[in-house]
Amino acid sequence: MEPLLQFFKVTAFWNLSWGNLLMDAIGVLFIYLAIKKHYEPLLLIPIGIGILLGNVAPITIAGKQVFYMLVNGEIAEGSGQYSVMYYLYFGVRTGIYPALIFLGVGAMTDFSYLISNPKLVLLGAAAQFGIFITYTGALALGFVPTDAGAIGIIGGADGPTAIFLSSILAPELIAPIAIAAYSYMALVPVIQPPIMKLLTSRKERLIRMKDPRPVSKTEKIIFPIGGFLICTLIAPGSAILIGCFFAGNILKESGVTERLAQTARTAFVDIVTILVGVSVGCSASAETFLTSRSLLIFGLGALSFAFATASGVIFAKIMNLFSKNKLNPLIGAAGVSAVPDAARVAQMVGQEEDHQNFLLMHAMGPNVAGVIGSAMAAGILWSILG
């Protein structure tokens, strides 16, 4: 009997808690949503797998130990016996993965939409309002300023930016912040349409925008260089993210580094996405994730998203008061930087009213401006609170 008991003690069942089981259920839910509902499958599947991995009881004793090896049943912390997850998580802890993802995203991004209609840039700025509203809300709920800043960035709707800033300002909150950010990004088609419809009239949703002008190759090459200089001179804290973003774009637009651009936007960004998803999921062990703070973070994240969407739409309406060429205010919601889902939602809501109204290309302008805006906001928050 004794040997049997000894064996049972080394199985996962011995240390399995209800919390671990609940987290496993959340991991399975993520995988289900990704496969069945197609909610951001590229992110939710790695995160779901990571959550399962991080909540296998024997390697999660006392919360963080998925990152350490067990040696004779003891945690080998300090002995140099770290698990492979410890090393993979290094990229999250140090903000390496977000920067690399930005490089890949830059190599995918086409700035033509933005260059052809520059005033759309302002919508990308307006949608960052949600970040600062949430910052205030988090302070009111008792979070310290650094934590509040990291929570606020969820409103930027940019997973890598959220990971980047929380790794600096609130490393212990990376898991709930990253999972909240990615969850809400996956739920963009569910969260945004009611807010967009509530804030616009049918007449406004029917507005057709002028076809943008063609953009030359020279403009596409000069823009990322000028954009990098402008953004980093104003917010040096954003230099890493913005720099990688524009660097990826120069690879694409230069026309002479097609191989590098092709790699950056395919295999490279895919590998980093897998690593970041699994690592973040793994860090969401029951002991660190199932807390009242996580619930508050999820609540504040939803608030942040709603405010970001609303502020983009309202700002587009305000711009229409002063503009000869009217904007369809639905594209203001694309200022949250969930690329390209937020732009697709604008297209979808617009086409519910008019099947011949093509807003997607117009919405891509504020969408990519939102990526720049949220990275800028992260840089500024880092400068002020870091």
């Binding site: 197609h38 205030t136 008792g142 000069i222 402008i230 953004c231 697709r344 500024i380």
Partner: protein
């Protein structure tokens, strides 16, 4: 309520929001200006490259009879192209379909909605 206000004040919420939104807007307004100037420069460059170079000074040479006949023939052909030549004059200068419209239509054809439950 007082406690909440104190927490907000301690976190300098107003200052952070003002600096944050101010910074983001300032950067993107500069970016807007930069793109605007870039566009203007691009248009100016295009107009310059399209404008014909000034004719050389001096008297314009008189066209000879052969040239005049050719010009008249072309003018006649252009005046009723489809009947005489079977080729539409407008074919060469027909407006290209807008790339934006094509891309929008393609995007619309791509299924956005998620697959329904089995």
């Amino acid at each position: 309520m007082e406690q909440v206000l104190e927490l907000i004040e301690r976190g300098r919420a107003g200052y952070v929001a003002a600096m944050g939104m101010g910074g983001v807007f300032a950067a993107l307004v500069f970016l807007y200006t930069f793109i605007f100037i870039l566009g203007k420069a691009h248009r100016f460059g295009r107009v310059r490259s399209r404008s014909p170079s000034a004719p050389p000074p001096g008297p314009t040479p008189e066209p000879d009879e052969g040239e005049t006949a050719a010009v008249v023939a072309v003018a006649l052909a252009l005046s009723s192209p489809s009947r005489r030549t079977g080729v539409s004059v407008s074919a060469g200068v027909e407006e290209e379909p807008s790339g934006w419209k094509v891309a929008g239509r393609l995007a619309m054809m791509r299924p956005f909605t998620r697959p329904k439950k089995d």
